[in-house]
């Protein structure tokens, strides 16, 4: 597998999609910093309190969910498109080695792209944010959780890349899957954010205005149903991305565990399926 990794990384360093990802995420980090800086100048801090590094470290998550799908479709998908995956197998490399080296490559590429976001954030951010915002331990847990969320997505996208031989089909499938995942995650979160009680004034069917404070919201999730929605939002990597991005994490440790589970399960399933796959 060392040979495959050596070959893979050598290809990665010269892949335009990788550098495009690095530049994009680095640029996104700068834009986020600039946006936050402008908000501070506009008096945001006077009303809502200042931004912290904790905020800046979360704002990449919705963009990050697209990185594995785009990278895997365009970088790993090329192996099938150009037929070069055959060269590895004919040269006597085992299928698990080919699969795992692809996974390591996608993990490395995505982590480096996320790193490219953190670089400007860590250099510029401290100048206008109000400290970390949380304890160093909590911040580390959140950043590790975000990386594990990206790793889970890498596991799923690598699985798709190794099983779908047509690059165009792969690209469309992965992007649609991420969009669908975000939509589903958004729905779960929307339901979870429903207030337990209505606040303010409501208009009745007769057109009367009544004080609606402390009126029970029938859409509010309770009991087992709420737990199931919370579990789904925590479990789905796209749901996690929304939770991180909007600071709605309830079980950060469990989210890390779920990501690891997804990575392990998708890799195990992918290895079995790829071993059986008929390559052309």
């Amino acid at each position: 597998m060392t040979d495959l990794l050596r070959a893979g990384f050598s290809r990665l360093w010269r892949a335009p999609i990788f550098w495009l990802g690095i530049v994009f995420m680095g640029g996104y980090g700068v834009i986020v910093c600039w946006d936050v800086y402008e908000s501070m100048l506009g008096g945001y801090a006077d009303y809502f309190g200042g931004y912290t590094m904790y905020d800046l470290c979360r704002y990449h998550c919705i963009v990050t969910v697209f990185l594995p799908s785009v990278f895997c479709a365009l970088f790993l998908g090329t192996e099938y498109e150009h037929g070069t995956i055959r060269n590895k197998l004919i040269a006597g490399k085992s299928r698990p080695a080919v699969y795992l080296s692809s996974l390591v490559l996608s993990l490395a590429a995505c982590f480096l792209m996320i790193g490219a976001y953190f670089l400007p954030v860590c250099i510029i951010g401290p100048f206008f944010t109000e400290g970390l915002g949380v304890s160093p331990g909590t911040l580390a847990l959140i950043v590790i959780g975000e990386l594990l969320m990206a790793a889970a997505l890498c596991g799923l996208c690598t699985l798709g890349s190794m099983l779908i031989s047509r690059k165009a089909v792969l690209a469309v499938t992965l992007l649609l899957a991420v969009l669908a995942g975000l939509a589903v995650g958004g729905y779960f979160e929307g339901r979870l954010q429903e207030p337990e009680y209505y606040q303010g004034i409501m208009m009745t069917e007769e057109g009367e205005l009544v004080d609606a404070s402390d009126m029970e919201n029938p859409s509010y999730l309770r009991g087992g149903e709420r737990e199931a929605y919370q579990f789904a939002a925590d479990f789905l990597p796209t749901g996690q991305a929304l939770l991180y991005n909007f600071d709605m994490m309830v079980h950060p440790w469990a989210m890390c565990l779920y990501s690891l589970l997804i990575l392990a399960a998708s890799t195990a399933g992918g290895l079995i399926a790829f071993r059986r796959k008929d390559l052309k």
Partner: protein, 304 residues
Amino acid sequence: MEYVLQAVGLTKRYRRSSALNGLTMGVPRGAIYGLVGRNGAGKTTLIRLICGLQTPTSGTYTLYGRKNTDRDIDRSRRRMGAVVETPSIYLDMSAEDNLKQQYRVLGLPSFEGIGELLELVGLESAGKKKARHFSLGMKQRLGIAVALAGDPDFLVLDEPVNGLDPQGIIEIRELILRLNRERQITVLISSHILDELSRLATHYGFIDGGRMVKELSAADLEAACRKCVRLTVTDTAALARVLDGMGAEYKILDGETADVYQKIPVSRLTAALQAEGCELIDLQERDESLESYFVSLVGGGRHD
């Protein structure tokens, strides 16, 4: 005879179809083995199986003495190179970078020999040009160069001259002959361009409907396709006496027919046969090519 590859009862079934049906074959060491068959006969499926891209539904094959089910079959595969259907190359890399990439995959300690390989396939002047800008022939030759990285003893080429212009076909042919003669590389080559194959192959395997119809050496094929006159007579014993008397080379096929492998004066033959009380019923000149041999062998029917 020592075999590089031996297949026994290889069968490959897909969900709705069957590509190989108990194919048995052997590729002798040092041979250029021509796999002949029409489209859909199972040539590419066979190559995919022996390259490890697919697994057989049943049956086995042995590569350099290791069965496909052996754990260390990968070690035998390291001794082979292959171009399956289209050349497997990175289109966004130059010829040299493609070879470097394959050297890394193989775990070779240095890039020594890349220049020699490029020269061998005639791509030494390709420079930094990306493979996507190569002609089909150049891509094919680069594919072969990639397959040759790591110095394999066994080269598998699937339809290597498909879509090439006449010049490209000649270049590939000369390259294959050079590899076989100078580097003693055993070559398995599939093609349905029979004329081209007949200029290369030392052994043939005729495949149809996923089965091996016939395997024979080029010498056997030449004998089978030899120019001859086929005679039909009333008594082949009398014909044999006459032909012996004339010093002709011949082969009695059955009680009425025989092939004579040289020109014979027909009037003298008729007179001599008449003297033996034998009548000449029919006389046909036969000149069978690989193509007509193939057609007569597979003939459009099934071979059960």
